[in-house]
Amino acid sequence: MTATTNAPPTSERSHGGRAAPPGKRRGLGDLKVAMIFLAPATLGFVVFYIWPTLRGAYLSFTEYSLLQPPKFNGLANYDRMIHDSFFWNALGVTVEYVVINIGLQTVLAVGIAMLMYRLTKSITVRAIILAPYLVANVVVALVWYWMLDVQVGVVNTFLSWFGIDPIAFFGDSHWAIPTVAGINVWRHMGYTALLVFAGLQTIPSYVYEAAEVDGSTEWKTFWRITLPLLRPVLVMVLVVTMIGSFQIFDTVAVTTQGGPINATRVIYYYIYERAFTRFDFGYASAMALVLFAILAVVSLVQLRLLRARESDLA
């Protein structure tokens, strides 16, 4: 696995080059050059990816307050996690967020992609759709925090025209998570739509022509042809966005900070609080490892689904 560190001494180089199997013209010849070109990236990779991954796994089995060296405590953190109602609450809230966020976002994104695909190739339209994605989460959160304000927010003013009483979007524990989810749908739906749009363009036109000849209606064509052929792309999009949305943090940190009454204390925010406001680093690492495991499972399920779809467009 760690081939970069297995570099043979240079004396072996010419020897290995001669002994290289046929087809490999230069054998080990490029290894030295490759090591030079890879040096900075490998340094960053080992120091800021590999080492922290191993260290994080180790820290999850320790008690560590940042002030004293970590103290190994076996499975204590995991045992504590099982009995920590805040942890389960955080997990539940996160899942609620992910479900609302992904559900809404996927449906809207497919809708937007279809609209663009059937109506316009305009790069301007695509750019406008993408615009929210390029603005920082923090900026998006603040703008919506203002627009959704219970007293003077423009959304509540708008609702009042329809006789709807003001809604405390961030202050009401039932509304808080759907609100945060909705804000991120606004930010990400254009990006997701463009991914779907790219997928739509890979569907060969003869499929549609055949459907048209058969007299299929637009609606039928969508359900029976477009959507099934889009499945590989959709699976990919779903997993990428799902992994992202499990890691919701910025919006919560800027708007509700976990409130009201834990209603938006998502797992990422809970880990952050444990680590950086209570300096409970070992416990926070253990929770991060569990989150890691959850995301790994999600990814594996994706691979399975993708493989099952390989023959869709024969």
Binding site: M1, F37, G44, T53, L119, K121, I129, L134, V139, A198
Partner: protein
Amino acid sequence: MSATSTSVRQVSVGRTVAWVLLFILLIVTLFPFYWMLRTAFSDNTQLPGHPHSLLPVETTLGAFKRVLGLSSIEEAQAQGGSGAAVNFWLYLRNSLVVATITTVCQVFFSAMAAYAFARLRWPGRDKVFALFLAALMVPPIFTTLPNFVLIKNLGLLNSFAGIILPGAFMTPFAIFFLRQFFLGINRELEEAAMIDGAGHRRIFFGLIIPMSGAPIATLAILTYINSWNDYFWPLLVGQQENVRVLTVALGVFRSQTPQGGPDWAGLMAATLIAALPMIILFLAFAKRITNSIGFSGIK
């Protein structure tokens, strides 16, 4: 793509409805940007009286002056500000420093690595590449905690180095992205250069990099935007004023605004300042960025 709809369709009810839907979507997408603009130019004390005025309320530059530290504390408080000293010029500079250094280093080092993975032959290459890619799976929070410990132990908390270092050398995605393009470059050119006596350094700088201007620019823009918008890491390691970046400053500014009558105009002026460079970048490179989305998603 439009092969199915090349035949000029009649103006049908369905098509009209679709256009209306698309139009509504565009409005929903753009409205918050407009509202940010409209509020930023409003007089904060007058805002509550005109919650749905489409134009700025009592148009003024007061909010911007407040946020950029151009008005006195008394003036700021009279306009509904917190009176706490804020200076977004400084945070703007910090964001520029962080995003620029991160982007230049990350793209350059990633390009070097991508070259080694795409154009050089050495044993174990594909395994090492797979290992780099596998790192994409590790969720940021998991590496962030130990990285924080590392940066703290190195004494780099509240320094630009501390904010920049973890992202400066590479990201698996950047290497993957550039490798794809490097793989597509014709080998004959390279061999011709080699016959002329060019070494790998000259091939890399004189051939591969100039030929990959477009993908490198695209990656640089995406990296710049990501780095500029990042919140979590700078929040952890860059709290102090002298290295505080815009996103972190916005969070601080938001928690400073008085609870009774928040300084909405000031807050929106601040968000506008934070978002404006990215909006400009986007307007300049909209086509390039939009076209890259399909690629970056479908691996």
